[in-house]
């Protein structure tokens, strides 16, 4: 359990007007990041709103490792200041669009990592990242057989033999 750190002065001289946030990962790493980088995350934005209301800033504890967190921060830094339609809570949900080129490269990681990133992105409510990860995972399982999908997703077959052979799970249409 990491120590809860109370941040009473979050402005650092010489860093412009952006304030800093302290994020604490599940492996107890403290990561400092500029607030406006993380504003893409609805979760963080809500936390920050809470800080404003109570005039109390404290570290934000996150349930995933620093490795994943750093990856998410890398994503947010890249799109710092960019408008992404998916992240606009007021915009209509966009249709299926191709994965952005940078995202493709960014998400060229092993599948466990990908699954962790999507989970973190979901926790942090970064819709654009969730969408990109989901499409990357979908690309991995597209066209595969059920058995291959289990392999890729690391999932055991938990159907009973009866269920497996029943028409409804076979989905004969």
């Amino acid at each position: 359990m990491p120590t809860i750190v109370s941040v009473d002065d979050s402005t650092v001289p010489g860093e412009g007007s952006s304030r800093l946030l302290l994020l604490v990962s599940s492996d107890n790493k403290h990561i400092v990041v500029e607030e406006d980088i993380m504003s893409r995350s609805r979760f963080i934005s809500k936390q920050v709103e809470g800080f404003e209301a109570t005039s109390q800033r404290h570290a934000i504890l996150l349930p995933f490792s620093s490795f994943v967190l750093n990856k998410v921060i890398e994503y947010c830094s890249h799109y710092r200041g960019y408008y992404l339609l998916e992240d606009d809570p007021d915009a209509a949900p966009p249709g299926r669009s191709p994965v952005r080129e940078w995202d493709q490269e960014f998400l060229d990681v092993d599948r466990n990592m990908l699954l962790r990133i999507i989970k973190a992105a979901h926790y942090l409510e970064i819709k654009s990242l969730v969408g990109s990860c989901a499409r990357a995972i979908a690309d991995m399982i597209r066209g595969k057989t059920t058995e291959e999908m289990r392999e890729i997703l690391g999932v055991e077959n938990d159907f009973t033999p009866e269920e497996e052979h029943s028409p409804s799970s076979k989905c004969t249409g």
Binding site: V7, N112, T146, G154, P167, G173
Partner: protein, 558 residues
């Protein structure tokens, strides 16, 4: 506590770490299942119907997510019924309503009953021109009885698909009203083509279905001079792919036929080619068979084994060159097995299904429509059975298999094993014993969507209509089965590379007595043809006695 900014390098990820990280976590609960439903949903939403169906069988958790989400259910239902959501259709229904309609639509096909709601096409008992009837894309056309120059078009209504009933009529110019060879409708492009034989050539008249006038994009008339020797009884067939029109012409006494590639919008003939005398499909009543595989390729059957270099019957694919039209030699030769007897053309799913590639949405395609990617190529195999009889097997090969092969390979001869049932995940339908002798195909219709109609005798000898409802996608999920599951002809089928993959369908068969009118006229069914319109119209005709019986099955419920 005052803290300083972390070193910048700390924010960068090193690329070597993920591997180690992944291994360490692999022994725990699979990360995917620790994700919330929203995450799983997001992944599933990015997949198409086929993959969602496969995902459903992966584990309980995924199955639960799929079965609880309407949008995924709709995709699955569309996939398993071979339909697509209509882009241009009336979108007044919610997703849940469309799903419910699609389910009812699929369920309605499982019983074949004659409607009690009255004849949709009245006054046809004494109708005597079966040759000039066309059914396509739920549009039925025929000449008006009181005027030889009018053609009546009727759109078969579909309550569940949201297609209203509609009538239009088309005035045929006087000079061509005496005979016409062939009619073709492409509802997606609002196009009606009449191919009329003339001395030494043909004329194709292009009309708009909806207005009955000249088609706004069309040239009106496309004239073709044929180089085949003039002879009576020309037969033609037409296939249309966007602006391209493919006309094949064949005489009854010859197996040679001519392929003409044109542009129906400009009236230009791009290419004209006559095949050799030996490569036609004389076994199939001289019907010429050339179809578009896609925008750039034409598919042609060569039934004579020695008609091509490979020494077998084959399907040849010609590439359309934008300058020279058709190449002189085929780019691909898909070899058929020796004991294949007859090859039928790719069953034309309704041209309505080409709506997605049409330049403009011309017709109301309803809430959903058949998927053009599901067009099939049917190879009929006659396997010797006892007492000199033959068992017939239909091998339905999805054309997208050929398309993807052509897209990925430079050309050449493709052996059957590479593109046949196993490679193509084809569907095999074994036609019930004794049935093969008593029906005859009708070139125009026969299959509507993914359904096959047969006319066969019941136990008491009365004519029955048998509907086999199947789907090629189901076969993609066909399970590997033990050898020996196949019955008679197993050896042959093993040689076809069907053995080992149980491709028999979970096909739903329904039967209904044929209309009384037909039963009285016929003393046998061997001259009988059946057409099936995708919206439930069953059309029976008997060209030998020139009497047609038309009955509508399930029109209002479908």
């Amino acid at each position: 506590m005052l803290y300083t900014r972390a070193p910048h390098a700390h924010l960068r990820t090193s690329s070597s770490t993920p591997q180690r990280y992944g291994r360490r976590a692999s022994c725990r609960v699979p990360p995917i299942l620790r994700s919330s439903d929203d995450v799983l949903l997001e992944i599933l939403e990015s997949l198409d119907g086929r993959d969602i169906v496969m995902c459903k069988a992966v584990c309980r958790r995924l199955k639960k997510v799929v079965s609880e989400t309407v949008s995924l259910q709709y995709k699955v239902e569309l996939f398993s019924s071979g339909m697509l959501d209509s882009q241009h259709g009336p979108h007044t229904l919610t997703l849940a309503e469309r799903l419910a309609r699609l389910r009812s639509y699929n369920a309605a096909w499982r019983c074949l009953e004659w409607t009690t709601c009255g004849e949709v096409l009245p006054h046809l008992q004494d109708y005597s021109h079966s040759a000039d009837v066309a059914t396509s894309a739920s549009i039925y056309s025929r000449r008006a009885e009181d005027s030889m120059q009018d053609t009546i078009m009727q759109q078969i209504p579909s309550q569940l698909r949201g297609i209203p009933e509609r009538h239009t009529s088309l005035l045929i110019p006087a000079q061509i009203s005496d005979i016409w060879s062939n009619v073709y409708t492409d509802a997606a492009q609002d196009l009606y083509v009449i191919v009329v034989g003339a001395y030494l050539g043909f004329r194709c008249f292009m009309r708009s279905i909806s207005s009955g006038e000249d088609h706004p994009l069309g040239c009106g008339i496309l004239e073709v001079i044929t180089s085949l020797p003039p002879r009576p009884g020309f037969q033609t067939s037409v296939d249309i792919c966007n602006a391209q029109i493919l006309i094949t012409i064949c005489g009854r006494t010859s197996a040679a036929f001519e392929i003409i590639l044109g542009n129906w919008q400009s009236g230009a003939v791009l290419s004209k080619q006559t095949t050799s005398e030996r490569c036609g499909s004389y076994v199939n009543n001289g019907h010429p068979k050339a179809y578009f595989l896609d925008d750039d390729h034409i598919l042609l059957e060569h039934l004579e084994p020695d008609a091509c270099d490979c020494g077998h019957s084959s399907i040849q694919v010609y590439t359309i060159d934008s300058d020279d039209g058709l190449g002189a030699t085929p780019s691909y030769t898909f070899v058929l097995p020796d004991f294949m007897q007859i090859l039928y053309p790719p069953h034309r799913l309704s041209p309505l299904s080409k709506a997605w590639m049409a330049p403009r949405p011309a017709v109301d395609t309803g809430h959903f429509h058949p998927n053009p990617a599901d067009r099939l190529l049917t190879v009929i195999l006659s396997v010797p059975a006892d007492r000199g009889q033959f068992d017939e097997h239909y091998v339905d090969i999805p054309l997208h298999t050929l398309r993807s092969y052509v897209a990925a390979h430079p050309g050449g001869v493709v052996p059957w094993a590479a593109w046949g049932p196993r490679g193509a995940r084809a569907t095999r339908v074994r036609v019930p014993r004794g049935l093969s002798a008593v029906y005859r195909m009708n070139e125009q219709g026969f299959v509507g969507g993914l359904r096959r109609l047969l006319l066969c005798p019941a136990a008491d000898g009365a004519p029955m209509i048998l509907l086999l409802d199947y789907h090629p996608q189901r076969i993609a999920r066909g399970r590997l089965c033990a050898e020996g599951a196949l019955e008679a002809g197993a050896e042959m089928l093993a040689a076809l590379a069907i053995g080992g993959v149980e491709t028999a369908l979970p096909c739903l068969a329904s039967a209904a007595p044929a209309p009384q009118a037909l039963a009285e006229i016929l003393d046998g069914f061997d001259q009988c043809g059946i057409r099936l319109c995708e919206d439930g119209m069953v059309f029976l005709d008997n060209p030998s006695v020139w009497v047609s019986a038309i009955k509508v099955a399930k029109v209002f419920s479908i």
